[in-house]
C-alpha cells in the first residue's frame, strides 16, 4: 500500500505535464476569481478528469496497468491508492473553487465534499471491468455527465442559506456515495480475473 502510494506521488511529481497542469489550473482559478465566471470554475474541475483520462490511455498503451497486475499488491490496494489520490484532488478542487468566485465560493463552503462526486463517478470503472471497450464507454458516460454539468454553468443560481442539518446531510451523502463507489471498485477488483 505504501509502495503504491509512493508510486502514485512519484509519478505525479516526476510528470512535468502534471506540474504544468497545476499551474494552468491555478491560473484558471485566479482568472475565475477575477472575472466571476463559471467557465473557469468548471475548467478547474474538468481538467484533472481530462488529464486522468489521457494518463489512463497512456497506461494502457505502455502496458503499465498490466504490469501492476503482476506485482504482489493486494487487490484492494490499487483501488485505495487511487481513491486517496481522488480525495487529495477533491480537496485541491475545493480550495480552488473557494477562490473562483462568489457563487462557487458560497457553494463550496456549504458543500465542501462536492468535488468527490466527480471522482466517485469516474474512478471505479477500470477496477470493475477488464473489458477495455466497456471501461472506455463507462468513462465517456462519466465525462458526459460532467460535460452536462459544465453546460449548466450559466444557469443563474442563487445560493440561499441552507439549514445546517441539510448541509451536513448532503455532505454526508456525498461521502457515503464516494465510499460506496470505492466499495464497488474493490468488489470489482476482487472479482476481476485478469485482462480480457
Amino acid at each position: 500500500m505504501k509502495a503504491l502510494w509512493l508510486r502514485q506521488w512519484r509519478m505525479l511529481w516526476r510528470d512535468r505535464e502534471f506540474l504544468f497542469l497545476l499551474v494552468w489550473i491555478g491560473l484558471l482559478a485566479w482568472r475565475g476569481y477575477r472575472s466571476q465566471s463559471m467557465l473557469f470554475v468548471f475548467m478547474t474541475m474538468i481538467l484533472p478528469v481530462v488529464t486522468s483520462v489521457s494518463h489512463r490511455r497512456q497506461d494502457i498503451r505502455s502496458g503499465y496497468d498490466q504490469m501492476q497486475d503482476a506485482l504482489p499488491y493486494r487487490k484492494e490496494d490499487p483501488v485505495i491508492a487511487d481513491y486517496l489520490c481522488g480525495l487529495c484532488g477533491a480537496v485541491c478542487a475545493a480550495l480552488l473553487m473557494n477562490l473562483a468566485g462568489v457563487w462557487p465560493s458560497r457553494m463550496i463552503r456549504l458543500f465542501p465534499t462536492a468535488p468527490l462526486v466527480f471522482g466517485a463517478l469516474y474512478l471505479p470503472w477500470k477496477f470493475v471491468t477488464s473489458n477495455l471497450r466497456l471501461q472506455i464507454l463507462c468513462e465517456i458516460i462519466s465525462a458526459f455527465f460532467i460535460a452536462i454539468l459544465y453546460h449548466l454553468r450559466n444557469i443563474p443560481i442563487v445560493i440561499r442559506p441552507v439549514p445546517m442539518p441539510v448541509c451536513i446531510g448532503i455532505n454526508a451523502l456525498i461521502i457515503v456515495f464516494y465510499l460506496a463507489s470505492m466499495a464497488f471498485a474493490i468488489w470489482g477488483a476482487r472479482k476481476k480475473e485478469g485482462a480480457v
Binding site: 508510486r7 512519484r10 505502455s62 503482476a70 506485482l71 504482489p72 477488464s130 485478469g194 480480457v196
Partner: protein
Amino acid sequence: MSGAIEIRGLRKKRGKFLLNDISLDIPYGSVVGILGENGAGKSTLLRSVLGILKKDAGELRVLGCSDLRSHPEVRSRIGFVLDPIGIPDVFNAKDLNAIYKDTYPAWSEETFFSILTKLEADRNQPIGKMSHGSAQKTAIACALAHDADLLILDEPSGGLDPSARAQVIDLLYEATREEGKTAVLSSHITSDLEKIADRIVILKDGEILLDEAKDDLLEAWRYVSTSADILEGIAAQDVAAKRITPYSGEAVLRKEAVTADMQVRPASLEEVFTALVKGVI
C-alpha cells in the same frame, strides 16, 4: 500436481489469435526456453501464467497456487520481465528501488544496484529517456533483486547488444543455478536459450509444436551435407527441412537417418527450430 508451473488444456483467445490446448509441466529447478515466431503466442502464454490475462479455459497452477491474483504472497516469489517492459517512463532506477523495497518482502537494494552496476545501466536517467537496452537492463535488475523462486522473462535479451546480451544471459545463468530456482524465458534468439535452457518448448500458431529436453532435442537432429540423390531417398518423417541444389543437398535429419556417405555435424538449436517451424534451412 506439484511442479513450479502446471498447465492443463489452457486456452486463451485474443482478437483473432488463439492459444489452444496448452499443457505443460515445469518442475522446480528447471530452466525452460519458449521459442516461437512473432505472434506464436509466447507473450500470451507468459501473461496468462502471471495472471495478467484471464484464461478462457483450462487449469493453471503457479508455485502451487491456482489463483495467483488473490495471493500477493505467491506473486512476491515471482520475478518477471514483460515485453513491453511496462515500467512508467518517469521513473529512474532509484525510484524503482524505493517503490519495490516496499513491494517485495525479500527485495535487496544491494543486489539491485550491483546488477545495475554489472550491466552498466544508468540509475539516474528516467526509463522514458533510456535506450531500449538500458530500460531492459533495469527491468531485468528488478526481476532478479528479490530472490524470486520463479522467473518469468518475456524476451529478456531483446533489444540488447551482443555484449549486454552475454552479460544478461550470464546473470540469468547464475540466478537459475541455485537449487530450486525455476525460470521460463521466451525468446526468438535461439543462441541465448541454447546457452541457458535445459528444456525447449516450441510454439507455433498458438499450439505446442515440441516440448523436449534441450540435450535430447539437439541429440536427435543432425545437419548433413550430401548429394541430392541420397537426400531424395530419405523418408519424409526423418527430414525436418532440406535444401537441394543441382550439385548437392543439405538437410536437418533425424540422427537415425544419417548414413555413412553424408558429411555430418550437430545441428544448432536455431537450425532445428527453423527446420521444424518453417521447414527451411
